[in-house]
Amino acid sequence: MPTNVIMPQMGESIVEGTVTKWIKKVGDRVERDEPLFEISTDKVDAEIPSPASGTLAKILVKENETVGVNTVVAVIDGEGVEKPAMAESVQTAKPAATAAAPTAPRPAPPAPAVARLSGKVRSSPLVRRIAREHSVDLALVPASGLGGRVSKKDILSYVAQAGPAAASPVAPAAPQVSPTPAAPRMVFTGPIETVAMTPMRRQIAEHMILSEHTSARVTTVFEVEMSRVSHLRTKSAAEFERRNGLKLTYTPFFVRAAVEAIKEFPIFNSSVEGTNIIYRRDVNIGIAVALETGLIVPVIKSADEKNFLGLARAVQDLAERARTKRLSVDDVQGGTFTITNPGVFGSLFGTPIINQPQVAILGVGIIEKRAVVRHDAIAIRPMVYLALTFDHRIIDGAVADQFMSRIKAVVENWDEPVL
């Protein structure tokens, strides 16, 4: 019974593909799932397995010809024991297509390897997700599970061994750029020590690279006078702590200022999805907390609905739980804007990397007394540099500076009672 071979759909948005190479010639014997031809599409290059066993009877689309998906590109004369042609072609075309086009709202990774063979490998939803995230061809992973199944253990040790090459992060939603050539392998001479990254470190590394690949980042720096806040803090710290059992730190002041500015410029509380800007209705402020083992960003949910005490309490609670490792998954999800505070380590200001999928991050430098000019005289004032990194894809410099001016105004003219 003849079986039609079709141009598979390699991703949701893909409508056509080019046959780049026929691996078999007309008249060749071909086994089911044996590589038959190679294609190239907008997003993926892939080797397409044969949907049936038999003889390649006809090639209908020549090399370098582009046709729409589901076009019949060849016919295989089967052995009569195969299932009906329609069912066959659909069944075998599907796995490759789904592997390359995961349901996640990201485009398919630009890795032909995944598309090639994963349809045949027994695994699990978790393993397939890890394979997708690390662009791993499951067929290459040694399997130890029942019946040759690739287990979580198998793929994690494969990814750990394969190192950065296999663990390259998924390409971002941004327009596709040509993949960076693999960095030349550096050879160090002399004694070395190799230490595997912890899972947290690996995640941070992936996330940072993903961010750098995703947004067009620009950093703007403002200098803000802290006299009012500093004075208020000195005056009220003891009473605040007595009443609330909380230290009165600077952080909630900056959270409040950021929330006020976000209310006026909601673009800073958005995300980019494809060519859409997604405005987030919740204002959830992430606070970067440095731990000995890395960095974590717990989130103050609905920060715009909290009063000053509520913010102060949330900041302390999250920081405390971050340090004692008692954060829940929910605590670190859903952030819409992030504040980081390198000043506590002495930094004047940094150029922070945006915490994806957010579009801006505020860095607070060290607060210290500086000589500044006031009324044509040199005065001593507590000052801070605030650095905002923003995504120039959707935010222009003028808007970013208006946003920062608003933050500056809130901090310098602070009028909200803290007690």
Partner: protein
């Protein structure tokens, strides 16, 4: 910290709430002079008097009906079912009255119905059921199932202070068989919060009630074989702690759902659906249920043993799942 039995912890919790709040009172069959069929209320009549420890006729419908009425009038009744099996006689009062009142006109129904459930004591089909799921399917109720003495005390106090009708399922097998540390004085265990009873990395066992101990026994065995089980005690079934369930599965990536109640329509089915919806891509193996089969609890001791999940069955399933 004093060590006490599960049963004494329940009694101490009720006792302290009676002392703390004069609107708390008890009603049930033989709970006064006799101290209750299992002696949970022993000594209460003498201490708190016949107005607050009320022996009732043998009518669960009357007990629950009176309790709902008293709750509506601002009291905080704690009604005992001699066996949770008998609660069916008061079913209408619970699911059609108590559970709906707040939704219908906003009144509070601060009512607790407690009593022994569960098998393992050769009680036969009318004195052994794990019938908590009848109520988990009823919005408007809360359902809690303590496994430890600590939680028994903390949850009975939380239940009494809750403004909603709370069904408090004790496990009769645990009454005098388990003991653990219970702090003196006042504390509550929040309703709706699960607890990690044992940390592990390979397979999450999510369970509640007496099966927590079964899971811990299996975990102990498997640890020797190099398979690490994490045991999560749900403690509350309605509402249940979705975050804790998702967290343990996201950590271990394989999961066994274990309970003593029968299989179809059990808590395990509900959790399996949640995991399929929200943790599909975190699963590294099939979701495994270990439950009683869909039959009444048999009276014959060998049959009852066959009917109930035990550590051996859990260990066997865990070995298979670990190898999957």
């Amino acid at each position: 910290m004093p060590v006490m039995t599960y049963l004494d912890a329940i009694r101490q919790g009720i006792w302290e709430e009676m002392e703390r709040d004069p609107s708390v009172f008890l009603l049930g069959e033989d709970i006064g002079d006799y101290g209750g069929a299992f002696k949970v209320t022993a000594g209460m009549l003498k201490k708190f008097g016949a107005e607050r420890v009320i022996d009732t006729p043998i009518s669960e419908s009357a007990i629950v009906g009176a309790a709902v009425g008293a709750a509506l009038m601002g009291m905080r009744p704690v009604a005992e079912m001699q066996f949770m099996d008998f609660i069916s006689c008061g079913f209408d009062q619970i699911v059609n009255m108590a559970a709906k009142i707040h939704y219908r006109w906003g009144a509070k129904v601060p009512l607790v119905i407690r009593g022994p459930s569960g098998a393992g004591v050769h009680g036969g089909p009318f004195h052994s059921q794990s019938n908590e799921m009848w109520f988990v399917h009823t919005p408007g109720l809360k359902v809690v199932v303590p496994a430890t003495a600590y939680d028994a005390k903390g949850l009975i106090k939380a239940a009494i202070r809750d403004d909603n009708p709370v069904l408090y399922f004790e496990h009769k097998f645990l009454y005098r068989r388990i003991k653990d540390e219970v702090p003196e004085g006042d504390y509550t265990v929040p309703i709706g919060q699960a607890r990690v009873a044992r940390e592990g990395t390979d397979i999450a066992v999510i369970t509640y009630g007496a099966m927590v101990w079964t899971a811990l026994e299996a975990a102990e065995q498997l640890a020797k074989e190099g398979v690490s089980l994490e045991v999560v005690d749900l403690r509350s079934l309605l509402p249940y702690d979705e975050q804790a369930v998702l967290a343990t599965v996201r950590k271990c990536n394989k999961v066994i759902l274990l309970h003593e109640g029968t299989r179809t329509g059990g808590m395990a089915g509900e959790l399996a659906a949640l995991l399929a919806e929200k943790a599909f891509e975190d699963l590294d193996g099939p979701i495994v249920r270990i439950t009683a089969p869909d039959t009444p609890v048999p009276f014959s001791p060998p049959l009852e043993e066959f009917f109930l999940p035990n550590a051996k069955k859990v260990a066997e399933a865990a070995r298979k799942l670990a190898a999957y």
